[in-house]
């Protein structure tokens, strides 16, 4: 059986969060291929080396060195429409309204979810991926 999402990228500097997320995704069988990065720079390097399509990206906002927003800007600049096809969901605990407002200004950001990630949210992401194809 094929999972709803082929390639899912998870970018979060928090080791515990990524571990939990991975557990949930694997449990739900949501993605065939799960890529986890602790630093946005590493994710950017991966995209550069592997031009293949990414279906969805779960992205933390506050991360060392490069924030989630900076990652999107850098990726859009570098990969353009290829990157824009991905369903990008911001994943954060941020209470800062500025962050949310900034997220709304990015057309590519399809969702703004508060941690911890729930089963329902994962299903919503799956639905968005299938809807966008």
């Amino acid at each position: 059986m094929t999972a709803p999402i082929q390639t899912l990228m998870l970018i979060d500097d928090n080791e515990a969060d990524t571990f939990l997320c991975r557990l949930m995704i694997e449990e739900a069988g949501l993605a065939d291929n799960l890529l986890v990065f602790n630093l946005a720079e590493d994710a950017l390097a991966y995209l550069r080396a592997n031009p293949g399509p990414i279906d969805a990206i779960l992205l933390d906002i506050r991360m060392p060195r490069m924030s989630g927003f900076e990652f999107i800007e850098a990726a859009l600049a570098e990969f353009g429409s290829t990157f824009a096809k991905a369903v990008i969901v911001m994943l954060t605990t941020s209470l800062d309204m500025n962050d949310k407002m900034r997220a709304e200004q990015f057309g590519v950001i399809k969702g703004y979810f508060e941690k911890p990630l729930s089963q329902t949210q994962l299903e919503t992401i799956a639905a968005m991926v299938s809807g966008s194809q």
């Binding site: 080791e15 939990l20 060392p64």
Partner: protein
């Protein structure tokens, strides 16, 4: 109820306005009367019109302020009120002190007067002025003042009434009462209009100039007063001189006539009883134009038996001078009669009488008053009246209007004085309704010589003589006021600008680009501008700090909430995994959970440190930074030094003046970072040195390590709040360097980093040179 009040208020307003218009009309009448070239009006109307333009202006003001009360700005009304009151007070003071300053006619109602005490109570304008003032106050004053104002108005009405009723020397309103009225008027004005007025610069300067003008004005006034007194003394001498001259005329005439009478009385024809012969003798001895001879037979009841006034043998009237005749019969000497009505002509006549020796005949020779009139008129200068009165005050001769006055009593007031003493002079008596200077001298015959000169004639002379002084005083006053105004403008305008600048400063607004052309004031304005800029900068900084603080609260809350969410999930998953017997995953979850708790704890510690350190001014003290780092900071970090195997060297460092808590936290963070971010497998080397300063006014300290270094694109970001370069595998909160930055900024310093990847990092702390302890 409020409607009733507003109705009452409306009625009061209406009454106030009507009173205002009436007063205006009155003032206009007075002004017209004063300005009119027509001859002065007679009697009371004249005394009403007599007030000068100043009185009129006072009344006009009172009227205008009542009529246009709600249209005139209160400030202007108050100022004008003070001005009017001041002029009025000055005028009355001059009048009361009997100071004639020449132009007093412009100030004092009715002009300068010899007897000011009497005049005060009788000046209608004064009374009317008080009425107007009192009424105005009564209508406008609040409840507490109304009683005072009404009393004032009532007293003033009394003054005005007595003045209009022409009661001379109204004793009931003497000087003290007048002064009391003035004081009350002033007190009411002060209480009502301004409480105590706030002085403006113009007022101060005006007072200054006026006080400078006062000595010359007083000098002028005293000079004028002295010259007035000299003129009055001269006038008194002249009066007595004239009285003496007419006395001589009268006495010579009487003596001459008495000699004639004596000669006639001893005529043989008379002794012989031959009246026809005596008639012929008398006709020859006496010019009929100079008088007549009359013989009264007193042997039984007195009857006229002969008169040269009529042909001999013609019918004769009844005799008419009993008192003098009886005296003549008793004394046997020549006696002078009072003025009586001639039984022949019906006109006024006097006579000398004598009992002819050895007969029952009283011989009388008439004294024609016409002769006196002519003699007096010949020597009377213009403006003067010379007269002679008999023992009873009936005029026997008068230089002016004799037909009207001779044979009648003259001024009752004047005779009341003259009958008291044999000789005298007075400054205030009314003759023919005109105030005069009046002098008298009793003559040996018992009659009295009288002189009177119009006060107005004296005034005319006085005014002419003091005209120069008056003009000088006026010019001085005008120049003084001009100077006061110019000074007030020259200083007042710059001060007004300063005031505007200060007001803007007070409001927190920007200070407009104004200059005053006075250096000191410009300095103050510049200082205010600088102060305003500094305040604006401080406010901006404060807002920035507040923004930082808000941001910090958000961010700290976020970073504290995140691990709790994680922990919730961790425990939940752990429970599931343990239930399913997945020990390996549960173990991993436990490890991650523990890491989250450790980070939380660390973050909480930093937040506490931040709130303890940032933006709080503490006790500044002398800090030897080297001692501080070696004894305290490294002691705190001892564990980390041992674990990392770091080599820390501390060079000579400046002694500064600052807060111990601040600098301890600063170096703790910098040294901890230097040891934490070392190159893998290389023991950290950290050196703290006083570095070369870039600027003379900067005090630099460098903390340098040999660690992993920082890529240049992150050099600015590392000082921002909650910004990190490492994942959570490396302990850290993202607050340490932010805290360092805040501490240094607090002292007006700066912190920067010099670093490249793998090249180590040097953090340079720059503090103001002024912080160095002396």
């Amino acid at each position: 109820m409020s409607q009733a009040i507003s109705q009452r208020q409306g009625r009061r307003d209406l009454a106030s306005h009507i009173a205002g218009y009436v007063l205006c009309a009155l003032a206009a009448t007075i002004l017209l009367g004063w300005l009119s070239p027509l001859p002065p009006l007679a009697g009371r109307v004249a005394s009403l019109a007599a007030p000068g333009p100043v009185s009129a202006f006072c009344i006009l003001f009172a009227g205008a302020s009542l009529a246009a009360e709600d249209r005139l700005p209160a400030r202007i009304v108050a100022r004008l009120g003070w001005l009017v009151w001041g002029i009025g007070a000055l005028a009355l003071a001059l009048d009361l002190l009997r100071i004639d300053v020449g132009f007093a006619g412009w100030l004092v109602p009715g002009g300068p007067v010899p007897d000011a005490t009497a005049r005060f109570g009788t000046a209608p304008a004064t009374g009317i002025g008080f009425v107007a003032g009192g009424a105005a106050l009564a209508l406008r004053a609040d409840e507490r003042l109304r009683t005072v104002a009404l009393t004032l108005a009532a007293l003033s009405a009394l003054i005005a009434a007595t003045a209009l009723a022409d009661i001379p020397r109204f004793g009931a309103i003497p000087l003290p009462t007048g002064l009391a009225l003035l004081v009350m008027n002033g007190a009411v004005l002060i209480r009502r209009d301004l409480a105590w007025p706030r002085l403006t610069l113009t007022m101060v300067l005006g007072a200054l100039v006026l006080s400078a003008l006062l000595p010359p004005l007083v000098f002028i006034a005293s000079q004028a007063r002295r010259s007035t007194q000299q003129r009055l003394a001269q006038l008194e001498r002249d009066s007595h001189d004239f009285a003496g001259r007419i006395g001589d005329i009268v006495e010579r005439r009487l003596a001459e006539r008495a000699a004639l009478l004596r000669a006639l009385a001893v005529a043989p024809a008379l002794k012989a009883g031959d009246l026809a012969a005596f008639y012929a003798h008398a006709k020859a001895a006496l010019d009929p134009a100079e008088g007549v001879v009359v013989i009264t037979d007193v042997s039984s009841s007195p009857r006229i038996v002969l008169s040269t006034a009529v042909p001999y043998g013609a019918p004769l009237p009844e005799p008419n001078e009993p008192d003098a005749r009886r005296q003549a019969m008793a004394s046997g000497q020549v006696e002078l009669s009072d003025v009586f009505k001639s039984p022949f002509t019906g006109g006024p006549v006097a006579s000398l009488l004598m009992l002819a020796p050895g007969t029952n005949y009283v011989v009388r020779i008439s004294i024609r008053t016409q002769w006196f009139n002519e003699q007096f008129a010949a020597i009377t200068p213009s403006g003067w009246i010379l007269a002679v009165a008999d023992r009873d005050g009936v005029l026997a001769g008068r230089s002016r209007d004799p037909d009207k006055w001779v044979g009648r009593r003259g001024s009752t007031a004047a005779w009341a004085l003259a009958s008291r003493n044999d000789k005298g002079w007075t400054r205030s008596t009314v003759v023919e309704g005109t105030p005069v200077f009046f002098a008298w001298q009793r003559l040996p015959s018992g009659w009295t010589a009288l002189t009177a000169v119009n006060e107005s004639d004296f005034d005319l002379v006085a005014h002419r003589q003091t005209a120069t002084i008056s003009i000088a005083a006026l010019v001085m006053g005008v120049l003084g006021l001009l100077f006061a105004t110019l000074t007030a403008v020259a200083i007042g305008r710059p001060l007004a600008r300063l005031s505007a600048a200060a007001t803007a400063f007070g409001r927190g607004a920007e200070i407009p680009p104004i200059t005053s052309h006075i250096r000191e004031i410009d300095d103050v304005i510049t200082a205010l501008r600088t102060g305003a800029k500094a305040r604006a900068a401080a406010e901006t900084a404060l807002r920035a700090r507040e923004e930082d603080s808000r941001h910090f609260t958000y961010a700290a809350s976020h970073d504290l909430k995140a691990p709790t969410s994680t922990l919730q999930m961790v425990f939940s998953q752990m429970q599931t995994r343990l239930g399913a017997g997945d020990i390996k995953t549960a173990h991993e979850l436990a490890r991650l959970g523990l890491g989250s708790v450790v980070r939380m704890r660390e973050l909480l510690g930093k937040v506490l440190e931040y709130s303890r350190v940032v933006d709080k001014e503490r006790i500044r003290e002398e800090l030897d930074l080297r001692t501080l780092i070696v004894d305290e900071v490294l002691a705190d970090l001892n564990q980390q030094v041992i674990e990392s195997g770091a080599q820390v060297s501390v060079g000579e460092l400046p002694v500064i003046y600052g807060d111990r808590v601040h600098f301890r936290a600063l170096f703790q963070n910098l040294l901890a970072n230097a040891m934490k971010y070392g190159k893998p497998g290389v023991a950290p080397t950290v050196s703290v040195l006083a570095s070369q300063t870039r600027a003379a006014d900067t005090l630099s300290i460098s903390v340098k390590d040999n660690g992993m270094g920082i890529p240049s694109q992150f050099h600015a970001r590392i000082f921002e709040m909650f910004q990190r370069l490492h994942t959570q595998n490396v302990a850290g909160t993202g607050l340490g360097l932010f805290l360092c930055m805040r501490i240094i900024r607090f002292y007006g310093g700066n912190i920067r980093v010099v670093s490249a990847p793998e090249q180590g990092a040097e953090f340079i702390v720059e503090l103001p040179q002024a912080m160095r302890a002396q």
